[in-house]
Symmetry: D2
Subunit: 343 residues, 4 copies
């Protein structure tokens, strides 16, 4: 609730046309309770002046309050341990959940190990995990509409999966070569903690690679794209900008293809996806065009020999990579149009 | 030693032409001792490859070691309480001190109160304070040359004092109006501590005023310019850049003056100051031209009615505002040319 | 239409809840006609995906088309010479105008001289000029509601006038001292032209003052605040950020006042102004909180002697300083709520 | 002479310890002659105050003057057509040349085609081309020492070649997979021309890929690393920072190797290269550590399966990528120590 994605989520919900008469209820998490309730604008001063914002408070979390307020859908922007613990209870109370953490994104236990989750009841955890839907509306829209538990995707994962799914699903990628994903993210992706790498003097005028061979979004990539460990390589970098991700992907094709065939693959795949904008090759996306929007922009170039593809993908990590994708999922779950409150 | 100014000071000393054969000795302060000695380049990786840098270590502080190494001049880039405590001992050991903290800059007790210093021996403290020389080479060069204790100026103070001294000393300023000093500094000025305002997400794409009516460099300004409290107003702002200060000063003149008279005041005042560059009006300094240099750039414009002056001053806060000014002082104290190792 | 403010204006109009069924008509100016009509998204690719955006074109300007489309209100984001020439014709066609240029902002001929306007018919120009309303909704709301011609304020002028009007109108400012306005703006304020000062390598990691004693927004300040030339001094600076203005104003009071009196002046003055947010002293606005919003944030600090005030004001120069203020004016002219489409 | 690299080169030469008594002679190129001679500091105000800088002028180019001044070595920071035309004449006058353009870097005619060079005398051009030495001191030091014509490498090429040479020359790379080079450069790499992509509003808070499959440094990479077209893929990106390149390279190994074997390859290869700093894996270089230095920093990580390598390389594009590498070459040609004037 107090983080960057939490602030963006609050902003989107306060302005959501379907929620103007029933403003969202904000609750904090356990560790924050001493200081609660507090004014929403004391955590996020930039929200002041928005509808209902100045009257809103962030109350201490309690199931009772959620029920008293007849909450239907609970967004959780909490650490993954917290999400893992609370989701069973929320569902038991009849509350559907959109979880922004990594807690429920991974079906494969081996991939999930990166989060070091300790579940109280493994059987229940397994049952709920199998029920959880990966919250990528472009890939799993119908399942999301009926889901009780939506695992909102990671920011890097969103940018890469949306770029590669149209190719991988069409079986035109030569997976023997391995796909290289070189991704670059603005600093808000690292959250609000007071660590040296989040300091201005570290990040400004700089660029650095990190978590090479070990970023925890890797599992999502492999599961959603149905790839084996050595078929995809992902290196994140820290960009000296506040928001935005650009991912550059290097793909070998099974056979020589024409540019127009690739273009059609992308266009067709996203023909009903109003929040994915496919550029005409050789136009490529850039971060500036997606920052502060709910869009994912995609573009590509094909090598002269027709065998190698460079795909570029851009999102705002706090929006399509977190808060606006969560609202997009809420829209689907509530039966509203996917883009309500997002354009 | 581990801060930004300490790193710049180490860089300047390692490359100093007079010190190539007798490289500087680096010592840490008490609180850091557990981890010492450490390689200099573990604290400042960017120094690797400079002469002597990769062999240098930062040892635990001890007077014995300083004497064993026959240290003549001790630079202290320590918190002001520390500086206040150690200086008497250093002088007693026959070691001259250039102190980069605010501990010894202020003669007026009232001004010094801002640092909440608790001296063990008030009489000794008073004696040393009266002996301390404010380390502005352009204003106090001869005194610095013979000083045992040099109080290196604050960064904001340097940029403002050098801009105003030629005018105030010439008695052409109408002080009844008060001088307005609107200063803007890059983020390194705030040091390395892990506070929210030092974070990239706070400082980037932003600007904010702070410490209005209460910045602790104010005392230096008043003392060095010989002004009363209400004759000068100073507001600092946090700029979204790593390094550099630009100060804009608003001055009323006693009488109508011609542009050429003002220009001559500046030119003459700094005619023997190789590290102050006076621009021809209406050219004005900009931060870009001084970053990573030891220069202070000055410029001004005169109002059409010849009565109001806008003076602009730029320095690199870590160099002319700290480390290079300290080396400039060292050069004077050692009898070398002021600019050695600084161009 | 092709500039930064034009792009923001298009975005606001496309998303405006009252215009969803009658999307705006976009026309280019004469010099651009060769290349027209063009897709709106070819000029502003970031708008793609917004309602009606991908079907919208920018057509060559013609009065006939405006009449065919039954245009009620014409926004002009054109050079001031152009605005000066077209406004009489628009009004003659019964079309109300919101002009974003400086052409119609100034009643005083002397102030207007800075724009070097050459009017064909001085009598008509004088008549229209006297009819023109300065488009500051917080100061001239009722007049704007009925105006045929609204002169949308300059960006710097907006930030300074809103900060000073509550004080100057209450006659609590000692004008003998002169008000100092030190303003800082992001690079978009300088427009899109290919000049060296708009280059990344000039503006990044830099800060510079410009147009000292000569910025053309000065006339607006003097007229709207009813001040004489030497009662206000305004110096703009170029900030290394894309968007946002922070102005710092230095004011002497006629008499010693209590903080609460000042706070009430601001609170009361803006009690019915939903797009001005007054902070509690000693909280001060910062650029980050207003960027990409339609708000003006105000705050202040009072000196210990109760006689000097530092007022800080922040806006997004492209929104409250241009496009959103224009839409705010449109809302008033159309009888809608001031904030429609702006929160 | 008026570009960014030209300014850095002037700075390095003015401060070069071997040239303090015989300062460099600055000449402009033909197209600039109308305005010449001009003060050096009018082109590069930041140089003011450096030894000889304020007396230096940039004169109109003439062979006579170069001979009168007994110029031994001519640096050419000119467009490649110009370099191609003048080099034969310079050599004929007995002047050795360090050319910073791409004119003489490529032996393979096919690679050179990208520069669209039109040589007056193909035979002479071929002769000189075969004599030209690629100015990478770490790869061709002895040849550079005796060269008459040194082709200073491209900035991207420098960062990539130094990272890959130790691996490729050791034949441990599986070239069937192709090497992916994802490179990111600060804006100064694009030069000073007034094009939209050099504007602050385009580059700031942004990231974009460009010249995919077609950047003209590709030929240098292939020739220096002795690779075929499809064995290396290079995509440059425009970073929102003034200076610095970080290249991330993805390499498959022929066989499983231990981390220590890779580390030794790098360490041994650069054991006598004082301006290449090899980091201990898993430490990786970052741009901040090389900006404003003459160093190239290298680092790598090895995949858990020991078959895939990510290599990261950083340089300052204006220094090791242009001006300081040129001075390093001059040092070798003059028989001085490689690092003189560069630390």
């Amino acid at each position: 609730m107090s983080g960057y994605a939490g602030g963006e989520l609050a902003r989107l919900l306060l302005r959501h046309p379907r929620l103007l008469d029933t403003p969202p209820v904000f609750v904090g998490r356990l560790g924050e309770n001493d200081a609660l309730p507090v004014a929403l604008t004391s955590l996020h001063p930039q929200l002041s002046g928005l509808p209902h914002a100045d009257e809103s408070t962030v109350a201490a979390f309690s199931w009772k309050q959620l029920q008293r307020e007849s909450v239907d859908i609970l967004f959780m922007a909490t650490p993954h341990e917290q999400s893992r613990a609370w989701v069973p209870e929320a569902l038991a109370h009849g509350i559907r959940v959109i979880d922004l953490s990594g807690a429920w994104r991974l079906q494969d236990e081996h991939h999930r190990a990166v989060y070091k989750l300790q579940d109280m009841d493994p059987a229940l955890a397994a049952k709920l995990q199998s029920e959880a839907v990966y919250g990528s509306p472009e890939l799993h829209g119908p399942a999301i509409a009926h889901a009780r538990l939506v695992a909102n995707p990671g920011c890097y994962a969103t940018s890469i999966i949306l770029a590669l799914a149209p190719l991988v699903r069409a079986n035109i990628v030569d997976l023997d070569y391995g796909i290289v994903c070189d991704a670059k993210s603005g600093v808000s992706g690292a959250g609000k903690s007071l660590v040296p790498t989040n300091q201005f003097m570290y990040a400004a005028d700089n660029l650095s690679a990190y978590a090479v061979f070990g970023h925890r979004h890797t599992g999502e990539l492999l599961e959603q794209l149905n790839l084996a460990q050595d078929q995809l390589q992902f290196t994140p970098h820290l960009l000296p900008i506040p928001r935005g991700i650009l991912s550059t992907m290097y793909v070998r094709l099974n056979e020589r293809l024409a540019l127009e065939e690739i273009q059609s693959r992308f266009d067709d795949f996203y023909t009903n996806a109003p929040l994915v904008r496919v550029r005409r090759s050789p136009q490529l996306p850039q971060i500036q065009h997606v920052v502060r929007t709910a869009f994912c922009d995609l573009g590509f170039e094909l090598s002269p020999d027709g065998r190698r593809l460079v795909v570029v993908s851009c999102i705002d990590n706090l929006l399509k990579g977190a808060a606006s994708q969560a609202v997009q999922n809420m829209n689907l779950m509530a039966g509203w149009h996917e883009t309500e409150g997002l354009l």
